[in-house]
Symmetry: C2
Subunit: 337 residues, 2 copies
DNA sequence: CACGATACTGGAAACGATTACATAGGGAAC
DNA sequence: GTTCCCTATGTAATCGTTTCCAGTATCGTG
């Protein structure tokens, strides 16, 4: 049973030597190394990470905190995180943490305290100060992706700048009656993202000398959310905007579907721009600002793992890595008729 | 450091007693129990599951094998699995296993062999015999959800019967020129699901005495996939079917969007039925057969965990739990004009 | 009162690795 | 030829739990 002991016996060496041979740490002659490896292969030995982590303190796995997975950005991120971690030899344990609730506390106290991971990646969740402190006290590095978490390294796009850019795209085309359709706290995504995109919109409008009051509609961050918002916003021909900046491509697509149902033609009757780079964008000829979640994810893994491997650098410098975005112009936007 | 030892010292008892008090196993007087608990609370003690699993052999976590995350069914399942497992005190470790490739072998050999989990849930993946055998040899129960895995308990809808039902819905309405749009192996989802849904379609058509050749179009299992298939299928008014059975709601929605772009009106010009119960279905007034992935997921967790907790029942009876489905009729289907 | 359960507790041996420390041979440097 | 360093290996301690075993006190029962 004692697995490595078996390997050692079979190879005619001590447990310590076997361990060194297999892990590659410390001195082992080439000859014994191959003997040990052969013995291990013979009995199909695989090390117990539990036993190892008991003494090393490293678990070779990272915890990922995510509020939901069915939203496009999150699913993409999750998939890439897993691949990147796997490639680096790490397991990924998933914690689907609700944004606010008692459940959340339970997750933290019960699961995260068990320190079954070397580090944590939180995607789109803004952890509270006490939560960050708790992780920090446990010596577990934390890297965020999406929302900015104070006290932790974060990979994210510049939401304000991106929203401003999207709005400016419409302004440059000559639109003046522009609305912003996005999420709000009630629709259960993190507050900061919504606020920032709204801020960017407002800034751009103000800079252009246009009124910003009454320019925002809230909806769920989904296609149906955008659809409903669209029906409400576009129904009345007399107070219909000429352009809409949607906070996500899914919302934008919902808007487009609503517009089509109302008999409007894009981009003549309405220009729409989104943010994301969702596969639907191409299908609907949607102008959008791509944010490449998969790249963000691999960047996040890189950041966490280097932090993990150079433990000395416990410089908890609140650092933000800005992920690049790019505007893709398609036929959903044009100058107003 | 030796955490439980600290608790024990603080409470003035032996490590063994402290362990018993905290775990609830074995005899402990009410008095000492509360002393121990108080001491544990004082220093904020949480047991190391690593150390515990080293001796008990249980890790309190299950591995989930999933081919991709961004598809609706999979995302829903994953989210529910996580919640159900968390509620039962289990961690969930995610393995995003590609359907076919060398990577897959690597995952199995390297990660799954580390036996960091008490059981495995495979969603929509049909594991090979050797893979099942490997898990079985390790004494790790396996429950599948979605595709049927020979040699393991599986929770799944009856794909053939569901496809037949969908087709029969169209037949009953009086349609005779019906097409099936679904996935195939080239579009990287598991083969069996596609085949089964196609089989159900073919069976229903044959029973109705209708021709089945040339009645199937393959596409990606996504909205854009259905969209492209729709443009191709519906462009020519002379050989346009009066009804389409789409293998998923996402495909169906793509078809509807394509139909609208081509100027068709549902259900007059075309009837469309899907399978899933996707949130988009309601938005597009899509008739569909709901399969309730969240229920399937909790059912799967229940199955695995009871198997886990009653280890004696190592009766590897190949059992299939059929998840219920239900037809929801909306206005995307009607008798042909 | 003796005896066997029954409740409770502590000591010590696991579980399966890693690693600090000790030992020993061989070559380079002086 | 001594000294020192480097390679190579073995012994034993360690990580933090659970659990087996043994021992003691209490209590009901015949």
């Amino acid at each position: 049973m004692s697995a490595i002991a078996d390997v050692a016996r079979r190879a005619g060496v001590a447990k310590a030597t076997a361990s060194r041979a297999l892990s590659g740490r410390g001195y082992v002659s080439e000859e014994t190394r191959s003997k040990v490896i052969a013995a291990a292969a013979q009995i199909g030995y695989v090390a117990s990470p539990n036993a190892a982590s008991l003494v090393t303190g490293r678990t070779q796995s990272v915890g990922v905190i995510i509020p939901f997975i069915s939203r496009w950005f999150f699913a993409e991120v999750l998939e890439s995180l897993e691949q990147a971690l796997l490639a680096r030899g790490y397991d990924m344990t998933l914690y689907n943490l609700p944004t606010h609730s008692a459940e959340r506390e339970r997750v933290f106290d019960f699961f995260l305290a068990r320190k079954r991971f070397d580090g944590v990646i939180s995607v789109g969740v803004e952890l509270s100060d006490t939560e960050v402190a708790q992780l920090h006290r446990m010596g577990r590095p934390l890297v965020g992706i999406g929302g900015e978490t104070p006290g932790a390294h974060t990979v994210a796009i510049d939401d304000i700048a991106t929203a401003r850019l999207a709005t400016e795209h419409l302004l440059t085309l000559g639109h003046t009656d522009i609305r912003h359709v996005g999420g709000d706290q009630a629709h259960q995504m993190d507050f900061a993202v919504h606020t920032k995109r709204l801020t960017g919109f407002t800034e751009a409008m103000r800079t252009a000398g246009l009124p910003t009051d009454n320019g925002f509609s809230a909806c769920a961050f989904t296609v149906p959310g955008g659809y409903e918002a669209g029906l409400a916003l576009l129904a009345d021909p007399h107070q219909r905007p000429t352009a809409v900046f949607a906070a996500s491509d899914e919302i934008a697509v919902g808007l487009i579907i609503a517009a089509r149902e109302l008999g409007l033609h894009l981009p003549d009757d309405l220009s729409v721009i989104g943010i994301d780079g969702h596969p639907y964008a191409e299908m609907f000829q949607l102008t959008t600002i791509e944010q490449h979640p998969r790249n963000q994810a691999t960047l996040t893994v890189d950041t966490l793992l280097t932090e993990l491997e150079n433990t000395p650098t416990t410089t908890t410098t609140h650092l933000v890595t800005r992920a690049p975005t790019n505007l893709v112009t398609r036929s959903s936007t044009s100058p107003p008729r």
